[in-house]
């Protein structure tokens, strides 16, 4: 119980002043005048009767009053309108006219106070009266009688309507604390509403916010979020919102008071404006705070937020909700939950409206979520909208559209086919052309094109579309300086896919793809060699040079399918490097190196060069690779470079091949060893005569006699004639 502490002199002065303004008589508060029964009392009583309409009417039931409790008597004196039916009206127990009861004497200060407040309300500039009212009201708010508390609260609520009195209230920490206490301890709904309303009113000024904050208002307001009264909820959430917006320390206090756990369930309410404030509170609390995001997740936040996006039209609510989703979308735990709740589809509904801020927030959120949404279904509409947004000049929109498309086409054949079919290739090419040096647009656009050009039924359609929409020169240009390595890496992969389409081989060559790829390969390889001694891997812009080596070699492998291209590739002295790459510790590098050598070896000159570089040794090793692709390429290169070799060499190759082939079949190996006279029976020299020159002569290369029988289907029971010797490898 707080009360204003004043010195006696001060108090007397104040009361005197008070008297001069409205009252001519002495209430007795200081002088004790009313404690004496005299003519002055009567006069006072009369005056009091005249000036106030709230004086208790006299009653002749003297005995009744003595049976009422003190609280009841105070209540009757102050608030006669609250008397319960059946209760006796409190009488003045005046055995004589003019006589005051003891209770009346006690109630007088409060009566005066009440009257004063009514006057105060009508005189809004009079802050002094409010100042005097505050201590009493503060006391009354702590009264045991809930009715008293209720009335005091309602009076204080009235006071907040006027600026001057409101200011006085917020300047009294005791008053604010009393309001807070009353609010959280009352079981009366009206008191709760009135006190919550008071705090709400105070929360529009900085001073009021501070007073609420310092009085422990935040935990109390958080508790009120569980109130069944809509008005209390509204006041509580709005007050908290103001605190979160403008009061330092409020966020921490709300979090500590378990505010998030109380707010998230409120997302199931149906008032759009209420939801807008609640979602904004969630955004303020969770921005940059991982723990808050996890609490929202644990309380079912993603599902409720997605529900709002799907079912409401109120723009402000959609905007605030999209902001919360954006904040949550960077959290690795919330991301899959939002996606699983249908977040992609829900956000995708809001990309074509008139609210730019909603569109942009939705796009950023979709972009953040997209890497977790590659397996989502029902995104056809979203994909089509994104393709159309590729025509935008807004760089933010372009950044988001390309990024989302890049991720949604990742390893998803259905999405790839859809985007290809609705003009995605052309739109992406234009985005690349417009991106210029904006890597955030160019990189995802190129990645998206790379995805579209492989691993789905319409890949060939996409490969052709790039050429038909004049995309090849622009794409090859991306390999040029200055090198932003993520874009270079993505472009190399795209070129490799484009080369899968035979019709693209010449345009790629004409655009200068081969020399650019070769130079990049050399540069990257030199870089890896420079750092080979140290354990550290080289990264440039987050890309390892080993990835560039692999990518370039892989692209050149596919380009080498074209005869003119492979001539150009071989002419750039690449063979020694490819042979060196056969020794790489990276399996993929070995694979693409063996692959490109396999293509190059189709040309005799190149085959000789490959052999001259000592490729046989590493290739023999690669025959044993568990990677079937590697073993196949290695075998093919060996076949092709052993065309002109001596019989010993060919024998060695065939033995090695057989060895690797029989690696897991010891019985067959044994059989081969015992039944094939590898030395004496190997009539390689004899067969040399029948061995045609290397090249494209159209005769069987197996070295066996050209017997008509042999042109027929192979008969398993033909049997092996050791005199024939071991068949010649090609």
């Amino acid at each position: 119980m707080m009360s204003m502490q004043m010195s006696e002199t001060e108090s007397s002065v104040k009361v005197a002043e008070w008297q001069q303004t409205y009252y001519a008589s002495d209430s007795g508060i200081q002088s004790g005048a009313t404690t004496v029964r005299d003519d002055e009392e009567s006069e006072y009583s009369k005056k009091h009767t005249v000036s106030s309409a709230t004086v208790v009417e006299s009653s002749s039931e003297v005995d009744a009053q003595y049976t009422l409790t003190r609280a009841q008597r105070v209540r009757a004196a102050m608030f006669p309108e609250t008397l319960v039916e059946g209760e006796a009206v409190l009488s003045t127990t005046q055995s004589e006219p003019g006589q005051q009861t003891n209770v009346q004497r006690l109630a007088e200060p409060s009566q005066l106070l009440k009257t004063a407040i009514v006057h105060l309300i009508n005189y809004q500039d009079d802050a002094d009266l409010a100042t005097r009212a505050v201590p009493e009201l503060t006391k009354l708010l702590a009264d045991d009688d809930q009715v008293v508390v209720n009335k005091a609260a309602m009076i204080v609520n009235q006071l907040t309507r006027k600026e001057a009195s409101r200011r006085v209230l917020m300047q009294s920490p005791q008053m604010v604390a009393a309001i807070v206490r009353a609010m959280q301890s009352t079981s009366d709904m009206e008191t709760a509403r009135a006190t919550a309303s008071v705090l709400h009113s105070l929360s529009h000024q900085r001073e009021g916010l501070l007073a609420i904050f310092k009085s422990g208002g935040i935990p109390a307001l958080v508790r009120m979020l569980s109130s069944p009264m809509e008005s209390v909820l509204f006041y509580a959430i709005t007050t908290l919102h103001n605190l979160l917006l403008h009061q330092e320390g409020a966020k921490m206090a709300v979090r500590l008071a378990d505010g998030l756990q109380r707010m998230v369930p409120l997302l199931k309410k149906s008032n759009p404006k209420f939801l807008a404030i609640t979602t904004d509170c969630l955004q303020l609390l969770s921005y940059g705070n991982q723990e808050s995001k996890l609490i929202i997740l644990a309380n079912g936040g993603p599902e409720s937020l997605v529900y709002i996006m799907r079912n409401y039209n109120y723009e402000k609510l959609l905007w605030t909700t999209s902001r919360v989703l954006k904040v949550l979308s960077v959290c690795p735990s919330n991301k899959p939950a939002i996606v699983d709740a249908g977040g992609m589809q829900a956000l995708g509904q809001h990309l074509t409206g008139s609210s730019q801020r909603l569109i942009q927030n939705s796009l950023w959120t979709l972009r953040n979520l997209s890497d977790a949404a590659t397996k989502q279904e029902g995104l056809d509409g979203l994909l089509q909208i994104l393709v159309s947004q590729l025509g935008s000049d807004d760089v933010n929109m372009l950044t988001c559209a390309t990024g989302i498309l890049s991720n949604l086409t990742c390893n998803n054949a259905r999405n790839k086919a859809l985007v290809t079919q609705c003009g995605g290739v052309e739109a992406l090419i234009h985005a690349v052309l417009r991106a210029g040096e904006k890597e955030d647009v160019a990189e995802p656009a190129v990645c998206a094109l790379r995805h579209l050009t492989s691993r789905h039924p319409d890949a060939e359609l996409a490969q052709n579309a790039v050429r038909l929409h004049y995309g090849i020169p622009a794409i090859v240009k991306l390999l040029g300086q200055p090198h932003y390595w993520p874009i270079v890496k993505a472009t190399i992969g795209l070129i490799r896919n484009l080369a899968l389409c035979p019709a693209n081989q010449a345009p790629l060559r004409e655009a200068g793809a081969i020399p650019r790829l070769v130079n990049l390969l050399l540069k990257a390889h030199q870089d890896t060699q420079r750092h080979a001694s140290s354990a550290q891997q080289t990264y440039q812009d987050g890309v390892r040079m080993e990835e560039i080596v692999e990518g370039c070699t892989g692209a050149l492998h596919i380009l080498a399918r074209d005869p003119i291209n492979r001539g150009e590739i071989a002419s750039m002295q690449t063979i020694p490097l490819f042979v060196q790459l056969l020794y790489s510790y990276v399996e993929n590098v070995k694979r693409v190196a063996a692959g490109v050598l396999c293509e190059l070896a189709l040309d005799k000159q190149s085959a000789e060069m490959i052999d001259a570089e000592g490729a046989s040794a590493p290739l023999m090793e690669l025959l044993h690779s568990t990677n079937e692709g590697i073993a196949t390429y290695a075998a093919a290169v060996l076949f092709r470079i052993s065309e002109d070799k001596s019989s010993d060499y060919r024998k060695r190759v065939s033995v090695e091949l057989t060895h690797s082939l029989f690696k897991h079949d010891p019985a067959a190996w044994e059989l081969a060893h015992t039944s094939v006279p590898l030395e004496a029976g190997y009539m390689a020299d004899e067969l040399d005569g029948a061995y045609p020159p290397y090249g494209y002569a159209d005769i069987p290369m197996d070295g066996l006699p050209l017997d008509a029988d042999l042109h027929e289907a192979y008969m398993p029971d033909m049997g092996y004639d050791p005199r024939q010797g071991y068949p010649e490898p090609l």
Binding site: N407, L671, A713
Partner: protein
């Protein structure tokens, strides 16, 4: 390479079988064959027929897999409107 043939096949048979397989694998992976290699396959059409069903059904050499880009590494500053 198929190393699990039934015992009893001669080395020559094994060799032809494996060579056919290598050439078929090359074709499957999109590589070119020389005319003489193509002729070899025509010569051993029966082996080709047998081997075709034993080739791995999954794609062997399709280049690098698609990789997602992680855009949500950091929280962007939010402008209140």
């Amino acid at each position: 390479m198929n190393r699990e043939e039934a015992p009893g096949k001669s080395p020559e048979e094994m060799y032809i079988q494996q060579k056919v397989r290598v050439l078929l694998m090359l074709k499957k992976m999109g590589s070119n064959l020389t005319p003489s290699e193509e002729a070899f396959l025509r010569n051993y059409a029966g082996v080709v027929h047998t081997q075709m069903s034993q080739l791995p059904q999954h794609p062997i050499d399709q280049g690098a897999e698609d990789v997602v880009m992680a855009f949500s590494r950091s929280e962007t500053e939010d402008r209140r409107q």
